[in-house]
């Protein structure tokens, strides 16, 4: 299985490089184009980590609509990055502090695939053991999302619907001609 880890590392490295490229791009149009590569890479990474459903979502959203929404936004604004008025020192401090705190937080998170992880010791075995009998469908991700955590998913759908309402309220009316 070492070879899969090797591929994982290669993909993650490319993901990092792409993120740096995107950050360096002054032309926002090029940055949008490069997010396409970022999306493709993250889908591949999710796949190598066996998260097929997440990968599927990333694939459909990344290829289907993300680039389009970015382009639509660019069409309504400008496509080059404007220079900041002054050096944003305060923002840099805040971002660095938050980053440090997050990195500190990571040290407590169980590592990927750790069998001693609380989720792996009682929750997952229960789903794996009981869900075929209780729900009886092969894809366990669907049974967790749609049945055990149906409230969550209802909340997510409501969020999407609310986003639609918000976008309509902001951009839905015909714009005045200038």
């Amino acid at each position: 299985m070492t070879i899969e880890i090797f591929i994982d590392i290669l993909l993650l490295f490319m993901l990092l490089l792409t993120a740096l490229f995107i950050q360096r791009m002054k032309n926002l149009f090029s940055a949008v184009i490069l997010t396409g590569i970022f999306s493709l890479l993250s889908a591949s990474l999710f796949l190598t980590m066996d998260a097929v459903d997440v990968s599927f979502t990333e694939a459909s959203v990344g290829a289907g609509i993300a680039t389009l929404l970015f382009l639509g936004t660019l069409a309504q604004t400008s496509s080059t990055e404007s220079r900041p008025q002054r050096l944003p020192v305060m923002a840099l401090v805040v971002v660095s502090l938050t980053g440090l705190m997050l990195i500190y937080g990571i040290s407590d998170i169980p590592s990927f695939g750790d069998p001693g992880n609380p989720v792996q010791t009682y929750l997952s075995p229960r789903f794996i053991e009981v869900s075929p009998r209780e729900i009886g469908i092969p894809n366990m991700v669907t049974s967790v999302l749609a049945s055990y955590r149906g409230y969550d998913t209802l909340g997510e759908v409501t969020v999407i619907f609310t986003a639609c309402v918000g976008v309509l309220l902001m951009l839905g009316r015909g714009r005045k001609r200038s």
């Binding site: 289907g64 639509g72 469908i137 894809n139 049974s143 209802l154 409501t158 619907f161 639609c164 976008v167």
Partner: protein
């Protein structure tokens, strides 16, 4: 759009395939990766392709913005309605076991219906986003 001959013809070929594939993803969420959310986005992608090539006016004739608003709400209502149906049939909110005589069948039916609700809402919202963002 006479000068986009190739795009026009290829779009005619591809759009029905994309739509059928989206519905396949929608209804096979229980067996293979996928489900309502992914299906909704792919379904919307079919419409977006049509809108890009044939123009916004044409796609608005196929599905009018008013219809889109109604279907977006209908999806959420379908989801919540399944929950309410569970309440009325003597279970708890979003309990699917009581939807049919056999609990496993009830679960199947419930999951199928709520995935349909998710798919409807997501597809409508994505098409709506396209309508809003594609305008000058």
């Amino acid at each position: 759009m006479e000068h986009h001959l190739i795009l026009r013809v290829i779009a005619k070929l591809m759009i029905p395939l994309i739509l059928v594939f989206a519905l396949y993803v929608q209804f096979h969420g229980e067996y293979s990766p996928g489900g309502g959310f992914q299906a909704g986005v792919i379904f919307a992608a079919g419409f977006i392709l049509y809108g890009l090539i044939y123009g916004l006016d044409k796609v608005r004739q196929v599905i009018s913005p008013v219809t889109i608003r109604i279907t977006a709400a209908l999806g959420v209502l379908l989801y919540a309605g399944v929950g309410i149906a569970g309440l009325l049939l003597g279970g708890q909110f979003l309990e699917y076991n009581v939807l049919a005589s056999d609990p496993v069948h009830g679960q199947h039916l419930g999951i199928l219906l709520i995935e349909l609700g998710v798919g409807t809402t997501v597809a409508s919202v994505m098409i709506m986003f396209f309508y809003v963002f594609a305008r000058p």
